[in-house]
Each structure stands twice: as structure tokens, then as C-alpha cells.
Amino acid sequence: MEDAAVFSTLAQCFGPVGEDEWNELTESAQWSDFLAGARRLLQDNRPLGADGQRLSDLRARLPLQEFLSARELSALFAPPSYQEKSDFAARHFTGGLPDSVVPVESLHRPAHPTDPGVPAGGGYLGDAALYVRDVTDGLGLEVPPAFAACPDHLALELDLVAVLLRSGMEGPALAFLAERFGWLTAYRARLLGLDEDASFYIGLVDLIMGIVAQQEPFEEGALNGCAMDSVA
């Protein structure tokens, strides 16, 4: 259950939330709890959503410094205020601006990955978006209107992992995690290119990429389990 909470928190960092919710989420104890949960996901040798660990699987407790730069770590320990988060979103999570780094998968994957003659960099509502929309529909969920152009928004993709975990669907959650977050490498590079300090978001992306890497040993089984399923 605690893994789901980590993904929900990550989702809210990239998505639009109200001031009260953000203040509650980043309140000291709550935020420390999130960082601790994230650290465990980076370290534990267990599949996503599994409870506890066998003693034999326990490794030395590695601090977050192993995964993050000092600057990112510092940013993660001091999350932005609501105003800072809103201002960053207004400048960077808004389309069409010079410094737009909208966290949407379709925008950071090649439009035609199999055709080298076509320029890289897709547009809105690419295959990733249609896929996430169909998965969401299949689960009886609804993509909110604000995300109509981008069901593959990072916030929704993270949210979906949380929902799957909470619903006892660890296998699909792991399969989704394995397939959907590869674009974050390109996205991280865009965040790094900003003039403005984006350490908080880079740190979050590194956390996600670290979690994805940690889950690699368990992916194959999860993907095999989902491949035979059909769209509902």
C-alpha cells in the first residue's frame, strides 16, 4: 500500500493541485514519509507493491545521495511553495512557450520511431496517449477534462500506477511502469536545459527512473502476464 502513496505523491508534484492540498502534501512529516517511501523503493529488492522483505534480500540501507546529486537532494528536501510550484508550471508546464517542458510522453517520444526519415519529437495524442486513454477506459476510469490533450501526462501515468497498486493489480502496475517511463531520459535532458532551476523536478524524475531501474528484474514476468490480456 505504501508504494501507491509514493506514486500518488509523485503524481501530485507534476499535476495541478490546490493550495491546501499542496501545503498538506509537503507538510514536514508527510513529506518525510514520502521521501522514506521513495528511498525504500529505490533500495528494496522486491517487486512493486510486495509487502516487506525477506531478510536475505535486505541490502545495506543506501541513502538518497546514492541516486541524486546534492543539488537535487537539497531541492527534494525543500519542496517548492504552492506559489513557486504554480509559477514554475505557468512558465514551463504550459504549451507553446520557449521554456515549455510539458511532462507529456507523446511530446518526448519520436513521432515515428520506426521511420528514420521522419523528424523526431511527436505531437499531442500520440500512441502513448491513446494507449493510456484506452487502459484508463478499460479500468472504468475517466481521464479528467483538463488532461484531454494528454492522457499520457506524467501525473496521470504515475497516478495510474498508484491506482493499479491500490487495486491489487501489482502485475499490471509493474508492466505499466516498465513500458511507459522510458521517455523520462529525454525529458530530464529538457529540464536540465532550462535557465531556471529545475532541481526539484529533476530530482523527482531521477527518483522515478531509479525506481524503474530497480524493478527491472521483475518486469519480464509482469509483461508476460499482461500481454495476453485484451482491451476491455
Binding site: 498538506e24 507553446g96 510539458v102 495524442l125 494507449y131 484531454a148 497516478d159 491506482v163 500481454a227 482491451v231
Partner: protein, 732 residues
């Protein structure tokens, strides 16, 4: 990490109800792709919608096929007279703007640091309205202006908004497009355009116009049929354009001298009594004066100016006489005299008079003055026009021949710089990059107290704005009916093809309606776009639902009929070989030779621009699918003649410096026999300087950087080709 209310929060509605049993509803991406491909192949959920293209002003009708909410196929509508069943590459490519990663998604405001930030619509409207109110109170509504490239809804709503505010200053992009052509022709025949009956002609001359570059599919088809019919098709152009594949001959000409060619051909017809004297006597006024005025415009004289051999000019005139009345000079559009030179308006006037000498008006194969369909008067008081603003359009006094329906938008730019205009709105217009010198316009527009731009992606103009309002793409909005003319008048409809992709974008009718409400003039917008569209259509015996079903309806009962003598809507009700208005504006009463303003120094080349088959506007350059072709074929390269290149030691694809007093830039060049010596051609749509346009940014040279800011006397156009450049190999 512990679960609680805040960590359980989800963006996905219904997430609380997901049960493990729903696992059957989950599929991997690979399995989904396979299922999705099969679904698309089966086209089980296909929806077909008739709509209109927006890649250029032709607005061709097509059927859009949508599968699972995504655009998958476009087929030109056979019943649409512009498309005739086909679309051009631009039309296909530009549809991808809907999904562009560079789409504007939220209203933007420039902050104190000069950077844009997203704001709410309410904030944008409130702040714009407050500033509008301040300007009106301080300087009057005449200190406000609008510039737009008209589209079906924009031409109604944007202008009505400006009128409701009390400002007469509504401009189109015409000053950088076809203003001189329309205005000059109007002085001669009382109409701004005609249709050359190309496919039925025995001879048609095109001056600087290429149907196969600025493509309207029906015109390409007509050209092809003319070619197959054995018509004599003459392309007068410094550039051997893509239409020349259908041409009988290419007549390369010194840029800006088309007027001399037309005057000389007219002189030949008159001197040799090869013109239709009866038609001229019955329909013209001032002929003798004009004949006398151009008596010295001999082919030998014109050869010195145009570079076209005198015997060619003599022959072309004789061939015209032989082919008449099934012959004409095609009216052109932007091309050589839409807005290009100090003599553009006068060239247009002379072309119309030349056709009059042929007696070809309304004759099979000649020049046809067709009518257009139009909505009738609307009785519903909600649609009543706002009171006519006091005063006249700024520029009317300075450029009295400029068509009032267009005005001189570049003069508006000058007035912004002078501080006369305080606030400007731009709709579907990239004036700062495409109308005249961008550096001048940037300085001029930066002087405004309020600048509002409505567009779908960031542009050079939007970058200068205080507020940018994001519009839905043309595929996501319905618009007012498009009434059109031609041999058979028609009405066509842009219907909404796709659901709105970005929820915080709005259609232009909604934006201007809400702006009007915020500015306190909402009473003039108390109707929906659908209500207005339906009311307009009912005046021509149709309704919105029925037009949606078919996309285009023609009015055969209003079809053009050959042979009927035109009614000349001039002050004299005649074809005006002399014009009192022109004389009053400081021009010759009848069109005579006017030198281009810019004469190349030694070693300099005349600069010309022009369209290419897949790219025509700055807006099309940011489409990856089109840019891919442009990159593959080096379509951004300036052209230079093989002879000039040899003299300068330049070889094909050499990196060269292209420079003049305004600008210097480098580019690979295309060395070709397809351009006249002494001329450099730069495509008119590249050189984007907006980093937000990730595809177009930095690709190619921008021709307007080389063009000084200046305005054509009397007509008000931007004189977009009154420029010279020098060219040299990098390092030479």
C-alpha cells in the same frame, strides 16, 4: 509511506471503484498496438466530416476521417470548386498543426521580466478590457486597430469587435499580399479581380503567378487541361517556376518591370490596330489619352528595361491578338504586383487595360467577371451591425487608392511607431515576420501600450505581445459559412472535425465574443456562431444542418454565362483608361511607366520571393512532415543563376553570405538555370526566429529581413520585393 486522504488523492475519476477483477481490462502496450492497428484497418469507428482547409486562403473543402477521435485521412471534396476532389501537400501536412507539440495551450501574459506566463482567461479578459478602456478614454477608439488574415469566422467576429469598440481601424494582411493588385484593377474596371478562363483559352499569360507553387488544386487541373488542349501558356517570371512544366514558354524578366512589358504589348496592339476597337469604344473611357501616353513604350524601349527581347514582346502581342478574345493575362495574386514594387498598383491597372484591348471580358477563354454568393440581409436584431465608427480608417488619406476592405496594415505599423495607435489586436496574422522589415515592425509594435495576439502557436508577432490568446486549431472549431465565387458561386462550411484537444483553448468566435463582453460591448454578440451561421444560410435557402451533411453547395442558377457584357462598377461606369482618383492621388491619370524604387548597385542582385509547392506561409514551416521534405530537397536555399554563380566562383550547395544594408545571413545556395541572371530568389516562408517553433526555428533565411520598411505610394502596399542583395561564398 502511509496512506491517508492526501496520498490517496487521484486525478483519475472513478479510481476508488477499481477492483482487482478489472485486471482483465489491462493490456500491455505491445498487445494494445496490435489491437489498435487491427481496429484502424477495420475502420470500425470512423467518422467522416466535411470541412475546409486552413493552410492558405483557398480554404479547399475536404472530408476528414476520424478514427477513435484521431484524424486519419483527408480526401478533397469533388463538389468543392477549389479542391475539385484533391488537396495539396500543404493541406495534408498542415492538418498536423492540431497535434503540434508547439500548440499554445493557455492564455499568456508577459511578465515584468518579459517572459510569458500562463494566466486564466478571466484575468486576460479583465486586464485587456481595462487597458482598452484606458486607451479609449485617453485617446479615443481610433487609437485601437486590428490586423487579420481573414478566415470565415475571424473576418466577421474580429472586425465586429473592433467596430463595436468604435474603431474604424480594421486591416487585413493585404498590404503584404494582394492589396495593390486589387486596388489597381479596381481603378480600371471597378472590380478587384477576375477569373482567367485558362482551360478554354487559346492563350493565357501568367505574370509572377504559379498555380503549381501556390496551389489551388482546381487551378492546377485547369492548367493541365489547358496544356492538353494546346493552349499557349506563357509564364512571365524571373524564376522558372513549377507551373512551367505546362507552359509553352518561360519569359524571364527583370523583377519589377512587368509594367513595361504590359505597356509595350499594349503599344503593339494599338499601333498595329490589333486591339478590339469596337469593344474599347463601347466600354472604355480615356483610351486616346492612354494610347498617346504610352506611344513611346515600344518593344525596343521595353527590352532595355525588362530584358525581354523586343521581338519576343512583339510576337507575344501578336499572338495575343490572334488568340483574342479567347485570351487574357491572368490577374495574379501576390506574385509580381500584389504588393511587391513601387509600380505594383499601376501594373495591375495596366494588365486590366491590356485585357480590355483584347475584348476578352466574359468571352470563352478570356477574362471572366464572375459573381460570388453572399448571405442576404439578416432581420434578427441580434445580428444588427454596431454603429458605424466615427472617422475613417487610418491611412485612407495617405494611401487613397488602397482598397477600403483591406487598408494598409503596414501604415498601421508606422502609426504604432509614431504613437498614434496605442492598442492593436492581431488575429491569424504574423505581421512582424511577414509583412515588412521585422526589425522595424518589432520596434514599432513594441511601442504599443496594448498588444493582443490570437493564434494557435507562438509567432514572431505573438512574441511581441502583452497577451497571447490560444485559439483552437481549425480542425477543432466550426466557423461561419464561406461564400465564394467563380463560374458557379458556392457556399462551403468549416465544421468541427476533432474534439477540442487543449481544453483551455477557444475558438475565435468565443474569444471575440468574450472579449466584447469584458469590454462592455457584449450586446453586439448576443448570439452563437451556430445561430448566425444558420441565419446566414437561410437567406440563401439553406440551413446549417443540411450544409454540414454535404460541406459545399453550389448555386447553378447563379452560374456565370459567357458573352454578357460586364457592368463596370467604376465612377464612370466604363473601363477607365484614365482615372480621376489616380490623378488625384498623384499618379498619372492613365498607367504609364513607373520605375521600381530600388535599382541594384554594381554587384547587387534584385531580390524576389515566392511560394513553393509544399510551403507557402510562415505557418506551414513548423509542420515536421512538410519540413522533412523541405530539408530533404534543400528548399530553403536561395537561387542564383548559373551564369552569376560562375562569375562569383560559387558552386551548387556552397555556403554563401547573402547581405544588404538591412541584414546579413548565410545559407547554402542553389545554382540553377531556372532563374534570370541578376536575380536572387529566397523562399518567402522560412527563417523563423521563434524558438518555440521547434521545427521551423532557424531554418533558412527570412526574406523580409532584407526588405526595408517602406510603403507603395498611393496604394499602401509593403513593396516586399523592393530590395537588393549581394551574395558571396563564405570566406571569399
Amino acid at each position: 509511506m502511509s496512506e491517508n486522504a492526501i496520498t490517496r488523492r487521484s486525478f483519475l475519476a472513478g479510481s476508488a471503484g477499481v477492483a482487482a477483477a478489472a485486471a482483465v481490462g489491462f493490456t500491455s502496450f505491445g498487445a494494445w498496438q496490435q489491437a489498435h492497428a487491427e481496429e484502424e484497418a477495420g475502420e470500425g469507428r470512423t467518422e467522416a466530416v466535411h470541412t475546409l482547409c486552413n493552410a492558405c486562403s483557398s480554404k479547399c473543402g475536404y472530408t476528414a476521417y476520424v478514427v477513435d477521435g484521431k484524424l486519419t485521412k483527408l480526401i478533397g471534396d469533388p463538389q468543392n470548386p477549389n479542391a475539385s476532389g484533391h488537396l495539396c501537400a500543404r493541406g495534408y501536412g498542415y492538418s498536423q498543426i492540431a497535434y503540434s507539440k508547439d500548440r499554445l495551450t493557455d492564455p499568456l501574459k508577459k511578465n515584468a521580466q518579459g517572459r510569458f506566463e500562463a494566466i486564466s482567461w478571466d484575468q486576460a479578459y479583465a486586464e485587456i478590457a481595462e487597458k482598452v478602456s484606458e486607451i479609449i478614454e485617453k485617446d479615443g477608439p481610433g487609437a485601437l486597430a486590428l490586423v487579420q488574415d481573414p478566415r470565415p469566422s475571424g473576418s466577421y467576429y474580429a472586425k465586429r469587435f473592433m467596430t463595436a469598440l468604435g474603431s474604424p481601424n480594421s486591416y487585413t494582411h493585404g498590404a503584404a499580399c494582394n492589396l495593390s493588385k486589387v486596388s489597381g484593377i479596381t481603378q480600371a474596371i471597378g472590380a478587384g479581380d477576375w477569373v482567367s478562363d485558362v482551360e478554354n483559352s487559346r492563350m493565357t499569360m501568367f505574370i509572377g503567378r504559379s498555380y503549381c507553387d501556390g496551389i489551388r488544386p482546381s487551378q492546377v487541373a485547369a492548367l493541365e487541361r489547358a496544356y492538353e488542349n494546346g493552349s499557349r501558356l506563357v509564364m512571365v517570371d524571373p524564376r522558372c517556376n513549377n507551373s512551367t512544366v505546362f507552359a509553352t514558354e518561360w519569359v524571364p524578366i527583370t523583377p519589377g518591370t512587368d509594367l513595361a512589358l504590359v505597356l509595350a504589348m499594349s503599344n503593339v496592339l494599338i499601333k498595329n490596330h490589333l486591339y478590339d476597337a469596337d469593344f474599347v469604344a463601347a466600354n472604355g473611357v480615356g483610351f486616346d489619352e492612354w494610347a498617346e501616353a504610352i506611344s513611346g513604350c515600344t518593344p525596343a524601349w521595353a527590352e532595355q528595361i525588362t530584358g525581354v527581347p523586343a521581338d519576343t514582346i512583339e510576337r507575344l502581342a501578336a499572338e495575343f491578338a490572334e488568340a483574342a478574345p479567347a485570351a487574357s493575362i491572368e490577374p495574379s495574386w501576390r506574385g509580381a504586383y500584389g504588393c511587391a514594387y513601387a509600380n505594383s498598383g499601376e501594373t495591375a491597372r495596366a494588365v486590366a487595360l491590356f485585357n480590355t484591348l483584347l475584348g476578352c471580358w466574359n468571352q470563352p477563354g478570356g477574362a471572366l467577371l464572375t459573381s460570388s454568393a453572399a448571405a442576404g440581409k439578416l432581420d434578427d436584431p441580434r445580428f444588427a451591425a454596431p454603429p458605424k465608427p466615427e472617422g475613417t480608417l487610418l491611412g485612407t488619406a495617405e494611401y487613397p487608392l488602397a482598397a477600403a476592405s483591406m487598408g494598409s496594415a503596414v501604415f498601421a505599423g508606422e502609426m504604432a511607431k509614431a504613437g498614434v495607435l496605442k492598442g492593436m489586436f492581431f488575429y491569424n496574422s504574423n505581421m512582424a515576420a511577414g509583412y515588412s522589415n521585422p526589425a522595424y515592425l518589432a520596434e514599432a509594435l513594441s511601442n504599443l501600450e496594448l498588444m493582443v495576439v490570437c493564434d494557435v502557436q507562438m509567432s514572431e508577432t505573438a512574441l511581441l505581445a502583452d497577451y497571447v490568446l490560444p485559439e483552437t486549431s481549425y480542425l477543432e472549431r466550426a466557423e461561419l459559412p464561406e461564400f465564394g465565387g467563380g463560374k458557379v458561386p458556392y457556399v462551403a462550411l468549416r465544421s468541427q472535425v476533432l474534439d477540442v484537444i487543449h481544453p483551455n483553448t477557444k475558438s475565435c468566435d468565443q474569444i471575440f465574443t468574450e472579449l466584447a463582453e469584458a469590454c462592455g460591448v457584449g450586446e453586439y454578440f448576443a448570439f452563437t456562431q451556430e445561430e448566425l451561421a444558420d441565419a446566414q444560410l437561410k437567406t440563401v435557402g439553406l440551413d446549417l444542418d443540411s450544409l454540414r451533411l454535404v460541406g459545399t453547395v453550389q448555386f447553378p442558377e447563379k452560374a456565370f454565362a459567357y458573352g454578357a457584357a460586364p457592368k463596370w462598377n467604376t465612377p464612370t461606369k466604363k473601363v477607365q483608361f484614365t482615372s480621376e482618383a489616380c490623378a488625384k492621388a498623384g499618379l498619372s491619370a492613365s498607367p504609364v511607366w513607373v520605375e521600381p524604387q530600388t535599382v541594384p548597385e554594381d554587384g547587387a542582385f534584385r531580390l524576389v520571393g515566392g511560394k513553393e509547392a509544399i510551403m507557402t506561409h510562415t505557418q506551414t514551416a513548423n509542420i515536421p512532415e512538410l519540413m522533412n521534405i523541405a530539408e530533404q530537397y534543400g528548399l530553403d536555399r536561395p537561387w542564383i543563376s548559373a551564369a552569376d554563380a560562375a562569375a562569383l566562383g560559387i558552386e551548387d550547395n556552397d555556403e554563401c553570405v547573402v547581405e544588404n544594408e538591412q541584414h546579413s545571413g548565410t545559407s547554402k545556395v542553389r545554382v540553377t538555370e531556372r532563374i534570370a541572371p541578376g536575380v536572387v530568389y529566397i523562399p518567402s516562408h522560412f527563417g523563423c526566429s521563434v524558438p518555440e517553433q521547434h521545427t521551423a526555428y532557424g531554418f533558412g533565411l527570412r526574406i523580409m529581413d532584407y526588405v526595408p520598411f517602406h510603403i507603395e505610394p498611393a496604394y499602401g502596399s509593403a513593396m516586399t520585393q523592393e530590395a537588393t542583395v549581394k551574395i558571396k561564398k563564405v570566406g571569399a
